[in-house]
């Protein structure tokens, strides 16, 4: 599971490099052939090339058309003031980027994203590890609880967003429940009070995505050999000692991959915010993210040039974070799989 996911995050590099090294291996073995059989070799070369073209072609086409090309076009449009009608003509150079970094709203958006990145890790990580440890014990109803923990992750973001926004309305079920059990003093405008809203968002995110972390950690736990626990127990280690000295270190690769996915997800957070707070008021409620800023100032405002520039900034930030994380944190886990690796 872990390996799959790590490959999945970067299909292009993963598969390209894989294919490349295979080819290199085959090329090396076919190289020392007698000089007299050149035509046959040529044929083999052609076959090989056709093979690469046929097998890699569709993926390359899709990747170029739907990933590389849009990124390049966004970069191009980002240099224009453009309302989206007719071809862009009003070239403004880097002005869009200057405006972005001078915009107070963009700075607060970065703060929100940073807040969500950090607190998602801090909140979800420990809780998910504890839950995973708990669910790794043999106990009654374990399967059911595992399913229940995982259910929120399976439900679509739109349904989660709509459901929570109905529950958390000022006259919604949550406030009614608080009133009903005598905690009326805790009633609050969960979504519309700018001081509370981002915490509400954080709780919803945690509720939604913690199941994913738990499943990852459970899979990681299952891969730790039973003998280590037995040996530790025989050596007299207590339960907590075993968890701290054996489980956590061996769970390390899984935790690091989960953290990577969580960070990237937090940076690109869009759907939940957009569903709950709509197109306009996320910045007022203090829950706007880079992606909602892009939509609000790009599409909703009809500034397609400016919006493209925001998309480029967002792309660069996410890419930088991903590369730094891969270089410094994931390196030991993925050596040979994603990175070139020392054999």
């Amino acid at each position: 599971m872990t390996l799959d996911t790590s490959l999945g995050t970067d299909p292009a590099t993963g598969s390209d490099r894989g294919a490349g090294s295979t080819q290199a291996g085959r090329g090396a073995s076919t190289a020392p052939r007698p000089a007299g059989r050149r035509p046959a070799k040529r044929l083999a070369d052609w076959r090989q090339r056709a093979e690469i073209a046929v097998l890699a072609g569709p993926a390359v086409i899709v990747f170029v058309t739907f990933v590389i090309l849009p990124v390049a076009m966004a970069a191009y449009y980002g240099f224009f003031k453009w309302q989206g009608y007719g071809p862009p003509t009003d070239f403004v150079g880097l002005q869009n980027y200057v405006i972005i970094f001078q915009d107070q709203a963009f700075r607060s958006v970065l703060m929100h994203n940073g807040f969500i990145v950090v607190l998602s890790l801090v909140l979800q990580g420990p809780i998910a590890i504890v839950l995973a440890l708990l669910l790794n014990q043999k106990m009654h109803g374990r399967g059911l609880i595992r399913v229940l923990v995982f259910v929120p992750y399976v439900i679509s973001e739109v349904i989660v967003g709509t459901g929570w926004s109905l529950l958390l309305q000022s006259n919604g079920a949550v406030n009614d429940l608080l009133q009903g059990i005598g905690l009326g003093g805790l009633r609050a405008d969960w979504l519309s009070n700018p001081d509370i809203a981002i915490w509400t968002l954080l709780v919803i995110i945690s509720w939604k995505y913690i199941g994913f972390a738990v499943i990852l950690f459970l899979a990681g736990l299952q891969s730790i050999p039973e003998e280590l626990f037995e040996a530790a127990a025989i050596d007299g280690a207590g339960y907590w000692q075993i968890q701290r000295r054996i489980t956590l270190p061996l769970l390390g690769p899984t935790i690091r991959i989960w953290a990577f996915l969580s960070i990237i997800g937090s940076l690109q957070l869009f759907d939940l915010v957009y569903i709950i707070w709509g197109q306009y008021i996320a910045s007022t409620a203090g829950t706007s993210t880079m992606a909602t800023y892009m939509v609000a100032n790009g599409r909703t405002s009809g500034n397609y040039g400016f919006g493209s520039a925001v998309a480029v900034v967002m792309f660069i930030i996410s890419l930088a974070v991903a590369l730094i994380y891969q270089r410094f944190v994931l390196r030991r886990d993925t050596a040979g799989a994603i990175t070139e690796g020392k054999k």
Partner: protein, 433 residues
């Protein structure tokens, strides 16, 4: 190895280009069929259900009967999807011939991109006679006229007569002081005085528009559409008036996450279910409210009064905010057939049909006599009496500035900004577009 890979990549790219090229070239050939005098047009509108959809189908059929050489293909597109699809279609040169025009900044962008047909010389004498020149003015630009208006949507405050009566209110408020008194009485009677769908931003911003309409002169309001500068002191005064009004806490609980039109919890829904007593909205509101009442029928005690007078401003107390719905022809449309169709839909009987289908005030003054609901009659009378009808400011100032204006008003209502910030945000937004 590198050479091999490069070669493979070249093949892949060539194959991809070929695939794309063949994929793109199929279909899309437009047939205007002008060779044999027959003309086919496509027509995009946003009435996907009910009487509105039927109205357009019938009207097109009647037009085709009168003009046997013209065929019109109708495409009804969900309102929220319409603008995006239209933009893509217009840019790819594959747009409709006739379509619902939103006006304002979008209209200007289409005109500047050369995508619209100037219909000025083709407007029939009939249409010119029956539609007031002021109604056309929103569609005038660069010495041309780029759309045919079909309905006027003046704004005012829609209220529940029953809830007003229960709170002991007689008559309707004409000044801010009276409105504030009524709000206090309504609060005492246990209902939310004013519903506002701030989640959609524009309904909240309409409060600011009306304060600005009272504070600023006509010249300032229309002049800002050109300059996009909001330095006149009246913009700040309007913000202060809004703040003062907001300080009386007139709005429903949790208004920030209240939508305008969807469901019983929306601002229109609150009014429809007697949870709130008033809502500031354009003349499309009765239709929305009727769809949200418990029995999905028109609200029997619905009433209307104009936005109250505000002291100390430069605007005329009888001026109104109001929108106009209209239809445009695209530049590639067959001129005669398309303008004939536009002239046809504003004829008296078609306009009466429009009113019946949409519950909206028709632009044709001869057709306006069929309006029978008391609230629409009051709104229409006030509209005719108004010395100046301003387009909604977000339309007038274009999507970009309009959007910034709307969200900054919401910030003020939520206590996250002040009157000054509205002006700053609006001035800043002008730089992005």
């Amino acid at each position: 190895m590198t050479r091999k890979n490069r070669f493979a990549a070249a093949i892949a790219i060539a194959a991809g280009t070929a695939l794309l090229a063949t994929g793109c070239s199929s279909g899309g050939a437009a047939d205007d069929g002008s060779g044999n005098g027959k003309v086919t047009m496509t027509f995009w509108h946003n009435s996907t259900t009910g009487p509105g959809k039927a109205y357009w189908a019938d009207t097109v059929k009647a037009f085709e009967k009168k003009n046997p050489n013209v065929t019109i293909k109708i495409q009804a597109i969900q309102n929220e999807d319409l603008d995006g699809k239209l933009q893509t279609a217009l840019n790819s040169g594959d747009g409709p011939d006739v379509f619902l025009q939103r006006g304002g900044g979008k209209l200007n962008a289409m005109i500047n991109a050369g995508q619209l047909l100037d219909i000025k010389d083709s407007i029939s004498a009939d249409a010119k006679k029956s539609i007031s020149a002021g109604t056309f003015s929103g569609y005038d630009a660069k010495d041309g006229t780029y759309a045919m208006p079909v309905a006027v949507l003046p704004e005012g405050i829609w209220y529940s007569k029953d809830l007003f009566e229960k709170a002991g209110i007689t008559g309707t408020p004409t000044t801010m002081d009276e409105l504030n008194d009524d709000i206090a009485k309504l609060k005492d009677s246990g209902v939310d005085p004013v519903a506002v769908g701030a989640k959609d931003a524009w309904p909240a911003a309409h409060w600011y528009y009306n304060f600005a309409l009272r504070a600023c002169s006509e010249k300032t309001l229309t002049g800002a559409a050109e300059s996009l500068k909001f330095d006149n002191a009246c913009w700040a005064k309007a913000g202060k008036d809004l703040e003062a009004f907001n300080d009386t806490k007139p709005f429903n609980d949790g208004f920030l996450t209240t939508a305008a039109q969807q469901g019983a919890g929306s601002s229109a829904g609150l009014l429809a279910n007697h949870k709130a007593a008033m809502e500031l909205m354009g003349a499309w509101d009765p239709g929305v409210i009727s769809s949200l009442t418990p029995d999905a029928k028109p609200l029997p005690d619905l009433g209307w009064f104009p936005f109250p007078a505000v002291s100390g401003g430069k605007g005329d107390p009888k001026s109104m905010m109001g929108g106009v719905d209209g239809y445009s022809c695209t530049a590639k449309a067959p001129k005669k057939a398309c303008t004939d169709f536009l002239n046809f839909i504003v004829q008296k009987d078609n306009q009466e049909g429009y009113y019946k289908a949409f519950q909206a005030i028709p632009v044709n003054q001869d057709a306006q006599s069929v309006v029978s609901e008391s609230y629409l009659k009051t709104a229409l009378a006030a509209y005719k009496d108004a010395p100046f009808v301003s387009q909604y400011l977000d339309t007038l100032y274009g999507q970009n500035v309009g959007n910034a204006l709307n969200t900054s008003v919401v910030d003020v209502l939520a206590g996250k900004g002040n009157a000054k910030d509205i002006v700053t945000a609006t001035n800043q937004a002008a730089a992005k577009g």
